[in-house]
Every structure is written in C-alpha cells, then in structure tokens.
Amino acid sequence: MSTQMVTANRLTDGMVVYLTNQGDWATQFSAGAVLAGEAAAEAAMADAAAAAKQQLIVGQYLIDVLIEGDSIKPTSTRERIRADRGPTIEVDAGSWTGRIGD
C-alpha cells in the first residue's frame, strides 16, 4: 500500500506546507497526514484543490513517504531537502539575524 502526503506552497509567502489530519496546512513535515492507499490520497488531493480555490495554497501534489518504525521521511532527495525548509549548505547571511521563516 502506498504511503503518501500532500504538499504545496502557501500562496502568500511561498512557504512549503503539508496537509494535516485536521485539514489545515503545516510548515512542519512531521505534522503532515500520512495517506495510506489511493482512496485516501485522492480525497486529500480534493481537499487540497479546495484549499487552492480559497487562495490558501498553490501547486499541490502528492509525495511518497517512507515509514521506518517511528520516523516518517519523504522518499526522494528533493522532498527531503524541501522538508528541511532550506538549502543543505551553510549560507553566509552576514550580520542578518531577523525574520526567520517559521
């Protein structure tokens, strides 16, 4: 059985978000709802389409996730990088310390 999650970007600020069990959108991958099987995935994508129509999110799609014991991870490198919410390298931002994305 496939295990997936719905992800998108928040319309206003572009932050990566994941559809939760409560039907809202969290920036933490760990809060995302794991969808077992096609039916669950389809239903979630329908919710996402509705959220897009309400200008909450944009560009929604399904990602594969892997369950290993207690931990859940995206299967692809791309989605792992995305779930980390930033580049994998250290960035020289000089003396900037303000406004951290949540």
Partner: protein, 560 residues
C-alpha cells in the same frame, strides 16, 4: 551609466502599480494561478523549492553603488540576508513573500531598478561584456546598444507571449566576453571594410537540452537598422516557433529545422519590409544614449609605477591577486578589478547584505560609484586607479571578497541546483564547495591556470555546463544524485560544446574525478602556457577517459 528620465520612471511606476493590482487580484481569488503565472513570471517571480524567488534585472550587468545598497537593504528587510548573482547578470532573492513583492518593487523603482521580464516567454535581460567601456580590446561600448535593445524589448506588445524565453547578448570587443554564440540572438560588433561599425548577427545558439552554437545569419547590420532587424527575427520566431512542445520551442530548434539559410531568408524578407520604419535608429538617438555611458573624468596618471611594482613584490598575496583578478584598462594608470564571489568553500555567486554594502562603499571610494555583474557570477569595479589597488585589496580581503581565482578552476559557475530550484535533479552548490576546497591552494590554482568549471543541477543548464572547459551536470539515477562530466566546452570566440566523458560519478567521487582530470592535464601539457582547453583540444578526450575509467586505477578519494 543610464539614468531614468521621466519616461523610464513613469513606466516603472506604472508597471509596479499594474503588478500590485495583479497580486491583489490573485490573493482575492479573482484570477487563478494558471492565469496569474505568466503575469508573475514577467515580473520575475518564480515559485521554487522552498519559497518564491524574485529575479531582479541588472541591465547589461551595470549598477551603481546606490542600487547595490538597495539590494542589500532588500536582502535584509525582505529576505534572509543574502542574494545570488546569476549567469545572466541578474540577482536573485530566494525568500520573498508574494504579498511583499509589490513593496520590494517599489523600493527597487526608487533606485531605477525592476524585475520586468526576467522570466516568462518574452525577451529577457540583454547582457553585455562586463568590461564594457573600459576593456583594452573594445571596439565600441556595447551597453549603448544593450540599453537601446532593453527599451525596445520592454513590454514590446507583440513579443510578450513568445513560444519560449528569448535571450540576447552583445559584445563590443575583439574578444567575446558575453558568450554571444550561445544566445538566441548574439550581436558581435565589428568594423566593416569601409571602417563602419555594425553588428554581426548570430541566431539560434543556446544551451539546455539541446546545446548548440549559433549561426551568423547576417554578417553586417548597420547601427541604424539594429532594431528593425531584431524585430524581423522576433516576428519570424513568434510566428513559426513551435508551440506544441516546451522542449522544442526555442529559436535554436526553429533555425535548425528550417535551415539557417532559409531562416536568414525569412528574416531578410520581413526585414526588407520594415527596415525604414519608425524603428530606424537615428544617429542622434544613439549618441544621446551614448552620453549616459560616458567614461568618468579620469586623472592623468602613469601606468604601473615603480611604487606599484614595489608593493607587488613586497606582498606575494597581493601579487597573486593582481595577477588573477586585475585586468588592464584603456586608461593609463587605471585597472579593472574583478571581485570574486567564489571564496573557498562558498556558494558561487552569493553575496551577503554586508558584502553588498561593502562593495557599494568600495565602488564609491575607488570606482566612481560604478559596479558590474559578470555572467561568471562575479562583480567588477571598472575604474580603479592602480595606486588604489593595494588599499582596495586589503578591504576586499577583510570581507572575503579577495579570493585570487578569477578564471581559475575554483572560479566556479554553478546554478542554485536542488538546494533551491524546483527544476533541479541534483544539488550543485555542495559539489562546487567540495571542488573549491580541493583546489583552494592559491599556488596550485596559479599552476593549473585558466580553467572554466561549470556546474548545472539539471539539463536546463543554467550553470552553462555545456560551455565549461570542465562541465558537470547533476542527474538523478534511481533517486540518487549523480554527476556527469563533459570536457572541452568554451563560451568565448572559440565557442564549443563539451563532450560527455563517460558514466556519471557519485557525490563522493565527483571531486576526485575532477582532480584526476586536472592531473591528466598537468601531465600532458607541453608547458605552463598551454591552457587546459588547449591541451584538451590537442590530445582529445581519450587520455581523460582512460585516467577516469580505464583499467584498474583506483580513483583518488576527494580531499576534504
């Protein structure tokens, strides 16, 4: 440099207002994402891996200290403290919020900047030689024409919905530093037999999935016919370029399918009917624009004084920096300074807000307030007095901006890759960092000499890997990042597309592979004067293949 007059200022204000309205309509749900997407792209707003990305235009790579400071301000206030200079002389911010983009654009408009047409299927930023105006081998300053083209192409009503993006580059020197042969249109200024200066027009060059060197379809277009000729090319392209397949929609595909000769004929036919229209450029207009690019009031100074030589001799580090990062200037007593944005282990082309402020100050102190961005993702101070070089170098050193590697293997050109980009298959920056650390020894760098290394995270080739002497292309193999190596590319007068050397390397092995390639070169070159590209062209790809894959040679592990 160009200063906005009332038109330009009004225009940008109106554009900001228009986009502000479009954002509002999007946020209110009056237009869908599908409808909004081309509109936001034409204002430089992408949706990327982690967030939106805003690409700001730096027309032909020229900017003032005031503009650089504003970019630093935007980096701090609206982003995460840094920006990335691109292979098309633009700058990208990786974390803007859509609902703040209108405010960012207003700030930019205050300093005569914008993000118009930095994306979308329209004519993009026209790039030019980063040493324009001051290079020793210059025939004429190409920025005059780049500015004319910029205006003509801005919100051109007929060419806002082309089959695909369109990139134009201009070079005005004997040596092409603008890579005109790998652009959709490349303009090479030259003198004809009568001594007139005009344009050789190249069409259909490009990288990406189907890299190809362009074709010169017109040996000489007179200055006054520049715009009408460009309009003819674009009109033919707009009508005949493919619309059915995104990957076959660039003009290079059309030129190839039609045949260069026939394509040139189609353009000629269109051009003949419009060439004496309102698009004709009067000489007065060219001269009017040229005023903006007048050189500063240089002092009369001696060239390379004994004092300077003494300073060089006394400080080997300074001497190394002069050797690699300082270029001769047309004005005696002056020099062109390339500021490397490729520090050891750094992300190529990135600059922090602090560094932006610093280079702005340095531009004011040493370069008449003017800077350039090169498509090699570095910065340039174009008017530095030789007597100021030492002080400048010291201040650059203090800000990690004095790495002596211009044109060397650690002057890496890399796209943002999978760390930032939605399109990428693999990361590019960590590979760049690893290679940068491997070759960080400045003596070794100088020993290896001129070597262009380019890294792209996917086939779209924003890192221009096809024209790297060593090119690295990130690919996805069964969900893992692998790196394919090409050799022998060049973006200059001797433009060529690199050849794939063999199977791709893992993340662990790629830096070692590059080492092996370099070692092979060093072993085979006839002298230090024979550059990597020359040795490659002389000996061919086989010795490199052999060294990398042949027999039971164990690959050297990548140095930490």
């Amino acid at each position: 440099m160009y200063r906005y007059d009332e038109f330009d200022a009004t225009f940008v204000r109106e554009r900001v207002k228009q986009f502000t309205g479009q954002v509002e309509r999007r946020l209110a749900g009056e237009i869908t994402e599908e409808q909004f997407r081309p509109l936001r792209l034409q204002n430089g707003v992408y949706l990327q891996l982690h967030a939106y990305m805003l690409r700001i235009a730096i027309p032909y790579g020229t900017l003032s200290s005031k503009q650089m400071r504003k970019l630093g301000f935007i980096a701090r206030r609206y982003d995460r403290g840094f920006g990335h200079f691109t292979t098309r002389q633009n700058i990208q911010f990786n974390w803007p919020q859509l609902d703040e983009v209108p405010a960012i654009l207003e700030h930019l408009a205050e300093v005569e900047m914008h993000a118009i047409q930095t994306s979308g299927n329209c004519i993009r930023n026209t790039t030019a030689d980063q040493h324009s105006g001051v290079a020793v081998d210059e025939i004429e300053d190409p920025r005059v024409y780049a500015e004319i083209i910029r205006q003509w192409s801005t919100l051109h009503p007929e060419f806002a919905f082309l089959p695909r993006k369109f990139k134009i580059a201009v070079t005005g020197a004997a040596h092409d530093r603008a890579a005109v042969r790998v652009h959709d249109i490349g303009l090479r200024m030259l003198k004809n037999e009568a001594g007139e200066i005009g344009f050789e027009v190249w069409v259909g060059g490009g990288l990406g999935r189907t890299p190809i060197i362009g074709t010169a379809i017109k040996p000489f277009v007179e200055k006054q016919h520049l715009l009408s000729y460009l309009e003819a090319v674009l009109r033919v392209y707009n009508q005949l370029g493919r619309r059915d397949n995104l990957y076959k929609a660039r003009i290079k595909i059309l030129v190839n399918a039609t045949g260069a000769e026939e394509f040139a004929r189609l353009v000629e036919e269109e051009w003949q009917s419009i060439k004496d229209s309102a698009l004709t450029l009067p000489l007065e207009e060219i001269e009017r624009i040229r005023q903006y690019f007048a050189l500063p009031e240089y002092e009369s100074l001696p060239d390379w004084t004994p004092e300077f030589e003494a300073a060089r001799k006394a400080n080997p580090e300074f001497a190394r920096w002069v050797q690699s990062n300082v270029k001769p200037h047309r004005q005696a007593g002056y020099a062109i300074v390339d500021i490397s944005l490729k520090p050891d282990g750094g992300a190529p082309g990135d600059a922090s807000a602090d560094q932006m402020d610093i280079v702005a100050d340095l531009a004011d102190d040493y370069s008449f307030g003017e800077l350039r961005v090169s498509h090699h993702q570095n910065l340039v101070l174009p008017h530095v007095r030789q007597q100021d070089l030492f002080a400048l170098w010291q201040r650059l050193s203090g800000a990690k901006l004095a790495t002596s590697n211009i044109g060397f293997i650690t002057d890496i050109i890399a796209c943002p890759g999978l760390d930032y980009c939605n399109l990428a298959n693999a990361r590019a920056i960590p590979v760049a960092q690893r290679i940068s650390r491997t070759f960080s020894d400045p003596k070794r760098l100088a020993e290896i000499g001129e070597l262009r290394l380019n890294i792209s995270g996917c086939i779209n080739a924003c890192g221009h890997h096809h024209v790297g002497n060593i090119g690295i292309l990130g690919v996805d193999k069964h969900g893992e990042e692998f790196y394919q190596v090409t050799l022998g590319g060049s973006s200059r007068d001797d433009a060529s597309i690199g050849k794939i050397v063999g199977p791709a390397f893992s993340t662990e092995d790629i830096a070692g592979a590059v080492e092996t390639i370099v070692t092979t070169y060093l072993g085979a070159r006839t002298s230090e004067a024979e550059r990597f590209i020359d040795t490659y062209r002389r000996i061919g790809i086989d010795p490199f293949k052999e060294a990398l894959y042949g027999n039971s040679q164990a690959r050297r592990p990548a140095a930490e």
